[in-house]
């Protein structure tokens, strides 16, 4: 077996990054994890065979783009992670693919207060560059909109309904019911994946033509219409609530190695 040197770009050395390191190490590979403590983005990174982009925080994305420009394989592809990080990009991409997304509003605090119809509340406030539940909150009235220096605020129409956290790894889909706006780590109930959710996931994955190996989507089934709205994509979740067959870490480990080999062969 080839002796690969693999770098992992991750916010932390524990959790999924740590588990991936162990898994890959057990397969005989050399693994280094780069966190914000030791990540210097320059030519010194080029001494690894390829990289795993665990985090989509800005500086890890920068590292991913830098490495890709230097012809290093980065999995998942930085552009795919970036699209999912930037809410403007992901919103319009989903619309282009034909997926439903909540109506969005952008404006300064003053504009939103003056021009939003009070009957339209509640909204969900989200950071433009963000993922998951960090910085996300429900806004029930004008008074709750507060931004520093009258900065541009991003709001989404709140969709009332059932919230799904849907993981996918390769062809496997694992669907859970989650409390609204909860992060990935709260306890969730596994359900049989509804057919329309399956179709939605295949549509999303299909757009990336085999380059989306795994990930998750937060989806809401609107109570009034039964329609599915995608409210948040995730490129590399922790899979904390994976309650389906097989180990997500082992599956992801194998997928990444297979993907690297295929990329090198091409």
């Amino acid at each position: 077996m080839e002796n690969l040197n693999i770098g992992i770009l991750s916010k932390r050395k524990t959790m999924m990054a740590g588990k991936l390191k162990s898994c890959l190490k057990n397969k005989g590979f050399n693994i280094s994890i780069y966190t914000l403590e030791n990540l210097v983005i320059n030519e010194t990174l080029l001494n690894h065979d390829f990289y795993i982009l665990k985090s989509k925080s800005l500086f890890f994305l920068y590292a991913g783009f830098f490495l890709e420009a230097k012809n290093k394989v980065v999995i998942p592809k930085p552009q795919i992670s970036f699209i999912q990080k930037n809410r403007i990009q992901s919103h319009f991409l989903m619309r282009r693919i034909g997926l439903l997304t909540p109506e969005i509003y952008l404006g300064t605090q003053e504009t939103l207060k003056n021009q939003l119809d009070p009957n339209e509340y509640p909204f969900i406030l989200k950071p433009i560059m963000g993922s998951g539940s960090k910085g996300v909150k429900v806004i029930n009235s004008h008074e709750e909109i507060n931004s520093e220096n009258n900065a541009i605020t991003y709001l989404e129409k709140y969709i009332q309904g059932i919230h799904y956290n849907v993981y996918f790894i390769d062809e496997k889909i694992c669907t859970l019911i989650k409390p609204p706006l909860a992060n990935e780590h709260v306890d969730m109930k596994k359900i049989e994946t509804p057919n329309d959710v399956k179709e939605l996931i295949f549509k999303w994955k299909g757009y990336f033509k085999g380059n989306l190996l795994f990930g998750h989507l937060d989806i809401v089934r609107e109570e009034s219409s039964g329609n599915l709205y995608v409210v948040d994509p995730g490129s590399f979740p922790e899979f904390t609530n994976w309650k389906c067959d097989s180990s997500p870490v082992e599956s992801i480990c194998n997928l990444i190695i297979d993907n690297y080999r295929k990329t090198k062969d091409n």
């Binding site: 030791n38 983005i41 925080s57 420009a69 403007i88 990009q89 404006g107 300064t108 433009i128 991003y154």
Partner: protein, 271 residues
Amino acid sequence: MKKVGIIIDKYHLKYKVTEFLKYLRSKADVSLYIEEEFLLNDKKLDFDENIFFLKAKGDLVLALAKLIEEETSIPVINSYKGSWLAINRFLNSVYLQKAGIPIPDFSLNPIGIPSTYHDYIIKNIIDQKNYKFIPIVHKENGQLKVADQRALDEVDKTDPRYNYLYYQKFIKSKFEYKIYGIGEEVYFSKQLPILVNPNKMETRKEIEEIPELKEYCYKAMEVMNLELASLDFLKSKDQFYLTDINCTPNFNYLKNGHQIVANFLLKRAKT
């Protein structure tokens, strides 16, 4: 009469486009979308403009550009992609270098891990706000360290995700070359570097075309999907280096710049 949509912020509207708007209004219908006053709702927009022009680079401006590109066939100058790349210094450095355009060596270092370059300049990573380059210069033991105050302000003292600095190898150059690319037209000037004379316009003068810079200008604009840009070059040992690229250049510094840009937009407008 063609209709031109200007997507702008209050700063640019107040200080940068008076002559431009006066001229443009004599040739076209002009609608203004002001970042601080406009409510963007992705489901309730109906555009009848023939072209849009971005004269700002805030989040709402970029989002509106993206929306127009996605939902209509109206040209947007500059594009969402071009504007986004232009404000992301590190990303555009990566793409420009990949395209073969000489740029000074660069790195992103966490605070506390110093640059390995002997002489360097610290620049802001995200160039999105409306403020000027304020250099802080240190000379120690023959080593030159320059920092842009904006870069130091950008570091978030409370959030470790943003404790990074962009280092660019310092290029010692007699002149700074300022190139404007407006569509296919390229305009050349040079001035003393700002570190030598902070009043850049005092020494700026038009110069003859430099074919090498023209090529770099075309290539950079193509790579970054820009149709209007200003580019700064430095020259050391007969080699030019692209040090900055700006997607909302101040065309008032160019002779008849407001007319050149307005005429370019009218030519590019959808019929």
